[in-house]
Amino acid sequence: MKRAEQILGIVLLLFAIYIGYESTQIDTGGTIGSVGAGFIPFWMSVSLGIISVAMLVQSITLPSDRFAPTFFSEKTARMQVLWVLAGYLVAVAVMKPLGMLISLAIVMATTMPAFGARSWKVIAFTAIATPVIVYIVFGHWLKVDLPMGILENVLSIY
């Protein structure tokens, strides 16, 4: 965890440097009576940079026993988190071409096993039923213009 804290400090510092640089490309100066559009981002990135350096120093100087021993409690926990993240990433990526309903079915099908669902019948049923409920509640009742993707011609919202 000590190493993870050090990485966090470095990532925040790099982010602060990058945003600070980007802010200088806008308008950081303060003419009389006003400050430019880059003023707040610049000074916030400076503040974040200082804080991240302090965090980095703290994570280097403090003894290891002041931190949790590991970042992930178990290897399986890490795999489950990655699995949910990957499933959700795929679902977001296919949302436009395949439509939200198929995308949500992917979310359900990939996330449920990570939370301990073992019966494939239950998973399949829920993965199909959920988009149907979303279609009825959001598409029909609440009139949300859901992206339908390949189902555009099969299911109409209005």
């Binding site: 993870a4 966090l8 925040l12 602060a16 945003i19 980007e22 802010s23 806008i26 308008d27 303060g30 009389i32 009576g33 006003s34 400050v35 430019g36 559009a37 880059g38 707040i40 981002p41 916030m44 990135s45 503040s47 974040l48 804080i51 991240s52 965090m55 703290q58 992930f72 409690s73 178990e74 926990a77 988190v81 949910v84 993240l85 959700y88 990433l89 679902a91 977001v92 949302m95 436009k96 939200m100 995308s103 949500l104 979310v107 359900m108 996330t111 449920m112 096993p113 939370f115 301990g116 669902a117 829920t126 959920t130 979303v134 959001f138 609440l142 949300v144 213009d145 859901l146 992206p147």
Partner: protein, 503 residues
């Protein structure tokens, strides 16, 4: 008299069948969310927020206020029955509540918690009502420098008083303000920090940040936690819930003190319900004639923290409604919602939209009545709901969050941003970085910037304007004190430890 008339008008607004239904729904959903470990009030509120956008502002806010109060009631159920707090403010209830349940007094623990919550919740709404108009009159004299100082103080206090590392909380505040900056600059019309992405031209919606950090982030964090719910008792009759005379006598003082502590702490930005419960528990233990019974099933140990966490809701609404300054992640979401409804938060809200403000205040009275009835009579039902397996609940949260965020603007770019903030929320949780300062900064960031720039236009670029006006100078000093408080506290603790070691 003026307050009473306004309150009557509020009841007239809140007591329509539709608003009563929404208040009831908010209370039920809030109680369930509060009872479910893993979904906090901020997460619940953020996930359900998009649903309220189709409603009129008063109805939407009534539902959210009901939900907010409901989460405070609901957290007790799992604290008492399975020793797992439904949300952070219920941690102290576990200490004695679970012990009472082990001794076969679960009903009494839940009963006194519900009654204490009702008394404290109702009293805090009375305090809110009494404090609101004087606060509004005072705040009407504020100009941009005072607002800048007030908001800066709010951000500093949240960072300084939050639990955990102050450095991380301050980093979160800076990150939050940075998250609020992309888009078109309101003063110059220049695009900034859009990185060539057209989706960022309109800025990052606070709903995306709130749902990502608290909703998706929480789900990802829960993947690692195995939460097996083993309830001690599943059937409790109403007879078992009602306290006897001795229990009443033991609980009156703790409820009164908890109410006062909860309300006062709730008004402070950043402190919130959790600190209020810790403080009230510590006070009760100190004033008790039998402190050795605390932690072993003392009813005072349940009554005081439960009263405190419910009283904090009324307290937290004071700065939100009168000054337009939220004090916690949950009230930041409510403030964001106000702005999305097209209302201008701040003292003028009381003058321009009295029906809205008093409608919400009246609905908090009604909500507390609904909640005490529900929590006395429907505990077995909530226990059953708490048993919904996580493999149904958590994926549904992702689905609801995704559709909800998409439905705000009908933009898939927002769903991508939701993913990004979900991952960020997960890592913040892992690193013990508080998320409330980020959300608060996202909401307050544009307001702070506007107030700063307006002040500098007024002063022709001189920063003296913040220090020569007494109110803004005092507020800035308070903000500085809040940030430095943990440093002083650490020095004091070290000196004390050295003194103890020397003795």
């Amino acid at each position: 008299m003026e307050t009473f008339q306004q309150l009557l008008m509020g009841f007239h607004v809140a007591a329509t069948p539709f608003n009563l239904l929404l208040c009831f729904l908010g209370c039920v959903i809030g109680t369930i969310i509060g009872a479910l470990p893993g979904i906090g009030p901020a997460a619940g509120l953020s996930i359900l927020l998009p649903l309220t956008f189709g409603m009129n502002p008063t109805s939407g806010m009534i539902m959210m206020a009901g939900l907010y109060c409901g989460t405070m009631y609901g957290g007790t159920i799992t604290s008492v029955l399975i020793n797992v707090p439904g949300e952070a403010a219920s941690v102290m209830t576990c200490l004695d509540g679970y012990q009472m349940a082990m001794q076969g007094r679960a009903g009494k623990a839940l009963g006194i918690a519900a009654i204490g919550s009702f008394i404290a919740g109702t009293a805090s709404v009375v305090f809110l009502m009494l404090l609101a108009l004087p606060m509004v009159k005072f705040a009407l004299s504020f100009g941009p420098p005072e607002y800048f100082a007030l908001m800066l103080m709010g951000l500093c206090t949240v960072a300084g008083l939050t639990s955990g590392s102050v450095l991380k909380a301050l980093a979160g505040t800076c990150l939050g303000i940075l998250v609020a900056t992309p888009g078109m600059d309101a003063f110059s019309g220049l695009p900034r920090l859009t990185f060539g992405l057209t989706g960022l031209l309109g800025g990052i919606d606070f709903v995306v940040v709130a749902v990502g950090l608290f909703g998706i982030g929480e789900v990802l964090y829960n993947v690692e936690q195995s939460m097996e719910m083993k309830f001690l008792i599943e059937k409790i009759s109403i007879k078992e819930v009602w306290p006897n005379r001795a229990e009443w006598r033991a609980s009156v003082g703790p409820i009164t003190r908890g109410t006062l502590i909860g309300f006062l702490v709730g008004v402070l930005p950043g402190a919130g319900g959790t600190i209020a419960t810790f403080l009230s528990y510590a006070v009760e233990k100190r004033v008790s004639k039998h402190p050795e019974q605390f932690g072993k099933g003392a009813i005072e140990g349940v009554a005081a923290p439960e009263a405190a966490n419910n009283a904090s809701t009324g307290g937290a609404m004071v700065p939100l409604l009168t000054l337009g300054i939220p004090g916690s992640g949950t009230t930041a979401i409510m403030l964001g919602a106000l702005m999305m409804y097209g209302l201008q938060p701040g003292p003028l809200l009381f003058l321009k939209n009295p029906d809205f403000v008093w409608g919400v205040i009246a609905s908090m009275y009604i909500g507390n009545v609904m909640l005490v009835i529900m929590n006395m009579a429907c505990i077995p039902l909530f226990v059953k709901i708490c048993k919904i397996p996580n493999y149904f609940l958590m994926p549904f949260v992702i689905v609801f969050a995704t559709v909800g965020v998409y439905s705000v603007d009908g933009n898939i770019f927002d769903v991508w941003m939701l993913y990004v903030f979900g991952v960020m929320g997960y890592f913040m949780n892992k690193f013990g970085m508080p998320r409330a300062p980020v959300l608060l900064a996202v909401v307050l960031g544009p307001m702070v910037e506007r107030a700063l720039r307006q002040s500098l236009i007024l002063s022709q670029g001189s920063y003296d304007i913040f220090f020569t006006r007494p109110i803004s100078a005092v507020l800035l000093m308070m903000g500085l004190a809040a940030v430095l408080w943990p440093v002083f506290d650490m020095i004091w603790q070290r000196r004390r430890a050295r003194r103890m070691a020397g003795a």
